[in-house]
Amino acid sequence: MAYKQVSSRSGGALSWFLQRVTGIVLLFVMIGHYILMHYNIDSGHTYDAVLSRMQNPFYKGLQMTFVVLGIYHGVNGTWSVVRDFDLNKSVSWTIYALLVISGVVFGLVGITTLMSF
């Protein structure tokens, strides 16, 4: 077996750390999301209820955190799985570009939607 040693610092430490940190924050944000949005008798899902909730800065902030962290965590996590495979450079760069572009696009969609309330 030809074992090729890569011995340059990969910057993997930071993305590993941020994956953990955003994961932990997401855990609480997700619990909050379910309690506040789905299991709360007061929450309601009518047009008016959603509208008034989204105008509340606390909810808006919560959803904004959710969008940004969720997308970062999802994209960074998928990239870390892609890197597990011994792919050639052009394939992994293509996947990397697609991940970053889709993250930015979905992020913008999410943020502009929230800002429109």
């Binding site: 011995s7 990969s10 750390f17």
Partner: protein, 236 residues
């Protein structure tokens, strides 16, 4: 009792692919080791059966094989330790390494990775007149990692190695830990550089297969986490 041992066989001179063969054994005791069964098959039925073993006592690490789907040492598992369905025990080579013959795999890449982490003390100072001292507490940090017998059960049980043969793997990380956390060693940064790489630490996703596989019950994932934290501390 009577047992069927189902063994993966492969003769590179005759077979195009590995296949399984069944061997019926009578008078098997519950306290027989799996290695005893392999020996009986080799000595009584087919002298061509090829596998490694040396110490027969869980010290040399040469007889790691996959027993009923798990990487284990054939000399350290008794028949009674296994949940046996249909009186059959299945034995295969450990995965992810080039197959040479029957249960024998080529361990070269495993040991190359072990060597790249520089598995020897690199101190700054010249040797003192007598030994280099350590406190008991400092030495205790190393005891668990130093129990490793280089059997390869952990690294070859890891999905990250299955999909990328360049992944350095848990056994080499454990050895890196053993020196990085040795107070007498001064090559911490150099060693961290060697494992803080794309094929290094960050391919570990805390899957715990290594911990389940290790015959010495080393909490390998804990040791890898200490290395990840040490690598992170350099960045922030």
């Amino acid at each position: 009792m009577e047992l069927t041992v189902r063994i993966q066989r492969y003769d590179p001179e005759k077979d195009s692919a590995p296949h399984f063969e069944n061997y019926k054994l009578e008078n098997v005791n519950k306290t027989d080791r799996i290695l005893d069964l392999l020996n009986r098959i080799k000595w009584e039925i087919d002298g061509g059966l090829t596998y490694r073993r040396s110490c027969t006592h869980g010290i040399c690490g040469s007889d790691a094989v996959k027993i009923n789907g798990r990487n284990r040492l054939a000399c350290s598992v008794l028949v009674q330790d296994l949940k046996i369905s249909k009186s059959t025990i299945q034995i295969e080579p450990i995965p992810a390494l080039p197959l040479e013959k029957d249960l024998l795999v080529d361990m070269s890449s495993f040991f190359e990775k072990y060597e790249i982490v520089k598995p020897y003390l690199i101190p700054k100072d010249a040797p003192p007149e007598r030994e280099r001292y350590q406190t008991n507490e400092d030495a205790e940090l190393l005891f668990e990692s130093a129990k490793c017998i280089q059997c390869g059960s952990c690294s070859t049980s890891c999905p990250s190695l299955w999909v990328n043969e360049n992944y350095i793997g848990p056994a080499a990380f454990l050895k890196a830990y053993r020196f990085i956390f040795d107070t007498r060693d001064d090559a911490t940064a150099e060693r961290l550089d060697l494992i803080d790489t794309t094929d290094g630490l960050w391919r570990c996703h805390t899957i715990f297969n290594c911990v389940e596989a290790c015959p010495k019950e080393i909490d390998i994932t804990w040791h890898i986490s200490q290395l990840k934290k040490a690598a992170l501390r350099r960045e922030i």
